[in-house]
Symmetry: C2
Subunit: 128 residues, 2 copies
DNA sequence: GGAAGTACCTACATTTTGGTAAGTATCCAC
DNA sequence: GTGGATACTTACCAAAATGTAGGTACTTCC
């Protein structure tokens, strides 16, 4: 889950191939909560519970898990202040901010095109 | 699977929220085979079996299913020539080509940053 | 006649992903 | 001393995504 299985040696470097490490990073960035966390954290620092409130309906489990994944990918920085009650700050790294921008860009494009997509279906599966 | 559950009325239009239709489109575009199909089809027309060979290890089932999803989203056009043996051509629509470009862009960015991401982990979960 | 190619579909099994509920340790307010 | 807040973890489950194996209907090639 956190280690990247190296692709078979003979394989051509196809970024999108399921076995390619970059593919897994992509999955993390576009996963259900990964994307949300990225944009929630863009330009800000939030602590665990703030993030949970910002996202609305995440479970503790998924929030922690997704944050760990993004941290392992070098997208978020975790800083734990050793006090009680615990206080942990999450923020984006430089590449995390970049990733957030890209994900947000893709999402914005989808949103813009949504009318066409939903009504879309210009040619519904025709015979010649 | 093919219909978009409308988000609850009071919900703020968060593009990335799991319940938002745009989110589902995003999922289709970044799904395991969806992304691969988009780039394989970029600028080309391929038939079912050509696509399968191009992707290498897709199952018939997933290929057919993913293609149908993308067709429903207005990303790919399916043209069946009514001959025997069957011959079906798949190609991208205009927004399909756009989507392919964006997905490819994101993938390329991940690939460029991969060295940093993999070795990355600049600050591994520190205490203050 | 038998095998292979075409573009699928269906039922079933497995894998992955996500959710729920509970527990942990410590402190503060009541 | 009970309850809440904090940031998690673990065990267990449900749902979704994906894979496997087989079938279909028709043709051409050997």
């Amino acid at each position: 889950m956190k280690d990247f299985p190296s692709p078979p040696p003979g394989m051509k470097a196809n970024v999108l191939h399921p076995l390619c490490p970059s593919r897994q990073v992509l999955q993390h960035l576009t996963s259900r909560w990964g994307a949300l966390i990225l944009v929630a954290l863009a330009g800000k620092t939030l602590r665990f519970s703030e993030l949970r409130r910002a996202l609305g309906d995440v479970s503790d489990r998924m929030l922690a898990q997704t944050l760990q994944g993004l941290e392992a990918d070098g997208m978020v920085t975790r800083v734990a202040h050793d006090v009680v009650p615990p206080h942990v700050d999450y923020s984006l790294t430089e590449i995390g901010e970049e990733a957030a921008g890209l994900v947000q860009g893709l999402a914005a494009w989808v949103e813009r095109r949504l009318p066409e997509i939903l009504t879309g279906r210009v040619e519904p599966s025709q015979h010649c």
